[in-house]
């Protein structure tokens, strides 16, 4: 295969040098540079699996939502046969956006410009005035459908990628799927969304939010210290919640497995350490789980997975490149075992803008009452008005602004707090394991995978003009050291 690579930025900086493995530093310019951003749209958002929603958003044939893969709008639709398909929302005729609404039900998506029409699976139905053959004779009809992304459903979550020949979703997720299964594949019917996602704009680079999602637990101590300042939320001292096992991945995925003993004792006022897995499941089930689901959990999960789920469940997790998962224990006053299940993706909207998309989830089989409480807790703590995430939305824009300054952009972000502890004893799960106080390791893995993708050889575009190809060859040649 003809492969070429732009490995330098216009000012002569090597892309690889933006992330320095020797000192574990990342240049602040990565959070604002338009040239880097354009490369990311191709090399990150054009290559990896991206989260688009949940299949409970489009339960019936013809149901659709419009979502985004990088800056590309896509139609996520259920076909008559019940399959979920993801089509580029760009008319092959003149490039017009085909579907202009956020959601609905349609078996025909008709472009409002010239009327070219498409099925939910993207197939081209035809153009108005059939006898005039307005789509011409040069390209056959079957090649005039909406461009298709490769789709994978995992625990009801809809993922898609433009990298149709690339790694499978399982390969992308790797062995840490073991932990995500504790959240997304633990009950017979799985999760459902409690409504469409909240959406709002933050004037920040998408990576400011996304690298935090790779398990920056440390910021909670300071940025969210209010949690310890007023009753009902913290333990006074939030430091105890900094200890646990951070699980990392060479693909930048990360999960914070946080022991729940102290929350247990606070909620129920009793000693939890001696309890069996069974007793804990019944007394204080994991976020989103109610006691009636326990037989399902036991069927779906291995005893080792169950033990992690009750001892140290993944409460905050990230998935590369732009996903945050928050399945947080928030026992209610009176000790009711409750949590919230919130899922974000950060859509890039330019070097200094992101769209925050936030779904609220619950197990399908949870009672209506339970779902309402989970929805209320989630809305009040996370998302648009969430008392926790308000403060994050205030932080990321300032980091992004730092990347504009002639001096600021030359500064570095440092990931030099390194876990020095051995593999946690008696830990049955896979992955890169970092025991003890949450440190920078999983976020560093995130940046190293970003670097890997940003410097990976790119397939030469077939349609690139000869001049562009020659220029690329020149750039490759000039980069040989």
């Amino acid at each position: 295969m003809n492969q070429t690579q732009q490995s330098m930025l216009a000012d002569g900086t090597s892309i690889a040098d933006l992330v320095n493995p020797a000192t574990r530093e990342v240049q602040v310019r990565t959070l604002g540079d338009p040239e880097i951003y354009q490369l990311e749209l191709q090399r990150i958002f054009g290559k990896t699996w991206l989260l688009l929603g949940h299949d409970s958003e489009i339960p019936k044939p013809g149901d659709f939502v419009t979502r985004d893969m990088g800056e590309d709008s896509v139609i996520v639709a259920r076909t008559r046969e019940g399959e979920v398909r993801v089509s580029l929302n760009v008319c092959p005729h003149r490039g017009m956006k085909v579907c202009m609404t956020d959601s609905g039900n349609a078996h025909v998506h008709k472009c409002t410009y010239h009327g070219w029409a498409f099925k939910p699976d993207g197939e081209f139905i035809g153009a108005p005035i059939a006898q005039e053959r307005m789509h011409g004779e040069i390209i056959p009809k079957e090649k005039l459908g909406l461009k298709q992304a490769r789709v994978h459903l995992y625990g009801g979550l809809i993922f898609a990628t433009w990298n149709v020949d690339g790694p499978s979703f399982e390969e992308f997720l790797g062995d840490v799927k073991w932990y995500y299964d504790l959240l997304f594949d633990r009950t017979d019917l799985g999760l459902e969304v409690l409504g469409p996602p909240q959406r709002f704009i933050i004037h920040a680079n998408w990576k400011a939010a996304s690298e935090q999602s790779a398990c920056d637990g440390y910021h909670t101590l300071t940025l969210h210290s209010w949690l310890g300042e007023i009753g009902g939320f913290g333990n006074g001292d939030l430091t105890t919640s900094m200890y646990g096992v951070d699980v990392g991945s060479p693909h930048g995925h990360a999960l914070r497995c946080m022991p729940v003993v102290n929350k247990f004792e606070k909620a129920r006022s009793f000693e939890a350490r001696g309890l069996t897995v069974e007793q804990r499941l019944a007394e204080l089930p994991p976020p989103g789980v109610t006691p009636d689901m326990l037989p399902q959990l036991k069927r779906k999960l291995t005893p080792d997975q169950l033990r992690i789920l009750v001892d140290s469940p993944p409460q905050v997790a990230g998935m590369f490149p732009n996903i945050l998962i928050a399945f947080v224990y928030i026992p209610q006053k009176g000790g009711d075992p409750l949590g919230m299940c919130s899922l974000h993706t950060y859509i890039p909207r330019g070097p200094d803008k992101l769209e925050f998309v936030n779904w609220v989830l619950a197990d399908k089989t949870a009672s209506a009452e339970h779902k309402i409480i989970m929805r209320d807790v989630s809305t009040r703590m996370f998302g648009t008005s969430g008392m926790v995430e308000q403060d994050d939305s205030d932080t990321w824009p300032h980091m992004t602004k730092s990347a504009r300054g002639a001096m600021g952009r030359k500064m570095t972000m440092k990931y030099q707090a390194i876990c020095s502890k051995a593999r946690p004893a008696n830990w049955p799960g896979p992955g890169l394991l970092y025991d003890g106080f949450t440190k920078d390791d999983t976020q560093w893995n995130w940046w190293m995978y970003w670097r890997e993708l940003m410097t990976a050889p790119q397939e030469a575009s077939v349609s690139a003009d000869p001049g562009e190809r020659a220029e690329r060859r020149f750039k490759v040649a000039s980069n040989v050291r």
């Binding site: 409504g195 469409p196 704009i201 609220v360």
Partner: protein, 186 residues
Amino acid sequence: MTAAGAVQTPGSLGTRIHIGSQIYNEIAEFLFEEAGHLDRLDLLKWADMLAEDLVYTVPMRLNRPLADQEASVVRSVKHLDETKASILTRIARLTKTKSAWAEDPPSRQRRLVTNILVNATTRPDEFSVVSYLLLTRNRFNQEQYQLMSAERTDTIRRTPAGLKLAFREVLLDQATLGMPNLAIFL
């Protein structure tokens, strides 16, 4: 998951209480006072204007076809979904902690309340009130204002302790919000 369109407050009779009448004037004054407390960050004074059984929501909006505008209002997951107790918790975070960074330093807010229309309800002590809100918000040295426009549908109740807000639904004009958080009240 989406429910019906523009909200009707409970028991609204659709009987207009005319502009300039005594009740109308009291209600307009209540809304202006309320806006002033919020603009000046007198959050506890604002909380005193809220009924104990308050229902306060900010639904989401979706882009849907003209023929299906009912579905443009989402009342399943909302942007804000509050009771008086949860609002008091938000106020405690903003006023009693030293780390509510989203509003510290605080934004400068201005609530312009207009187009007030009052209707009678089945309860003589409750009034159904529609008002328009234009909120400007400015933080740090931003040269641009963050703007939010909305239609509010309220139930305002007469009590021995004065008028109280018992119900509010804020219908925003943005599907994707242009401000980074709702650390403020509408």
